[in-house]
Amino acid sequence: MSQTALYVLYAILAAGAAGLYMILPSTRADAPRLRMAGAILGTAALAGLAAYLVRWIGAQGLGNGLFVLFAVLAIAAAVRVVTHPRPVYCVVYFILVVLASTGLSLLVAAEFLAMALLIIYGGAILVTYIFVIMLAQQTGESLYDRNAREPLAAVLMGFLLVAATAQALTVRDPIAAHAGQTVSSFRYAVARPSDQTVRPVADGPTANGPAAPAAPSQQSDAPPIGNTWAVGQVLMTTYVMAVEIAGVLLLVAVVGAIAIARKRIDPAALTPEERRRLEERKDLHQRGRQAAPF
C-alpha cells in the first residue's frame, strides 16, 4: 500500500468519524439538521471506503465485489447499532451486521464458522438480547437513549484506534511472501484436495485413529474435503482440551447467570398472608416427596 493510499484512507476515516459524531443521539436544538448532515457525510465516507477498496486493494470478479458489498453493509449497520435511539432497532441492525459478516466468512470458504455465526449469534444471542429488552424497556424513548455521553471523546478514540490499525497495515510484515493470496483465489482453497490448507485423506477417518494423509500420487483422485470436516478435525485434535474447557465455561456461565438474576425474597418483607402461602407451598412439596409413588 502506497503512502498516498494511506492518506486517502485517513481522509475517509476522518469523514466517517465526523459523520458518526453528528449522527450520535443528541438533545441539542439543531440535532435533526446535524443528523441529516452526518448521514450525508457518513454515506460519502462509505462510498469512499468502497472506492478505496476497489482502487487500492483491488476488486475484480464476483468474490471481491461481494466483499465490498458485505463490508460496506456491515459497517453501515454497525453505525446504526450505536446510533439508533431505540434499543430494539439496535438489535435488529446488529442482526444485519451478523448476516454481513456471515457473507464475509463464506467468501473465504469458512462455511462452518459462517453457519455458527448465523445460528449462535443471529439466533441465540440476539434472541436473548430481545428478551431482556422486552423485560426491561420502558415505553417510548428514554432520555438516556436520546443523549450520548461524551460523543466527541468517544468518536476520537474510535478514530485513533482504526487509524493506528491502518498505519500498521502499511508496515511490511515478515510473512509478506504469502500476500499474493486473494479472495477469489482462496474461495475454493479448502475444497481443493491438492491445497496445503488441509491434509487430504485417502478414505476419511478410520475406526482406530486419525485418518492417514493421502499419498501424493492419490491427491488428484481424493474426494474434496469440506470446511466443516477440516475444522472439526482441528477442533477435535489440536484444540480438544480447549473444547472441553469451553464446555465447562459455558456451564459456569449458565449457573452464574441464574445465580445473578435470581429473585431473592426477604422473609421479613412478606405480609403474614404471603408467609402463610409460602409455608403451605413448602408443606405441599414435603408431602409430595413423602407420598408413595402409586
Binding site: 459478516s101 449462535i120 479472495v183
Partner: protein
C-alpha cells in the same frame, strides 16, 4: 490486481471494533453498551478470519469459534447482570450506577 484478503479483512474488522468502542463509550443504555461489545467481538472474529487466510490454515477459524463461545458466555452473564441492575433501580441508565465516580 486482486483484493489482498488480510488487508481488507483486518481493515473491516478494525472498523467494526472501533465503532463498537465508540458505541460503548458514547451510549448510556446498558443493553446497547453490551451490544457494542458484541460489535467488537464481530470485528475480532473478522480479524481472525483474515489472519487465518494469511496463514493458510484453519487455526484462525478455530479461534473464532472459541470467541463465539466467549461471546455467548458474556451475553448470558451480562444480561443477567442487566436484569439485576434494572430490578434494583428501575432504569437502564448506566449513570444511575455512577456512585463510585465521586
Amino acid at each position: 490486481m486482486d483484493l489482498d484478503v488480510t488487508h481488507a479483512y483486518v481493515l473491516t474488522g478494525g472498523l467494526l471494533f472501533a465503532i463498537g468502542v465508540t458505541g460503548f463509550l458514547a451510549r448510556r443504555n446498558l443493553i446497547v453498551m453490551f451490544l457494542a461489545t458484541e460489535l467488537m467481538f464481530q470485528g475480532v472474529i473478522l480479524n481472525l478470519v483474515g489472519f487465518g487466510v494469511r496463514r493458510g490454515d484453519l487455526h484462525g477459524q478455530a479461534f473464532a469459534l472459541f470467541l463465539l463461545v466467549i461471546a455467548a458466555v458474556e451475553a448470558g452473564v451480562a444480561l443477567g447482570l442487566v436484569v439485576l441492575l434494572f430490578r434494583r433501580k428501575g432504569t437502564l441508565d448506566a449513570d444511575a450506577w455512577a456512585t463510585m465516580k465521586g
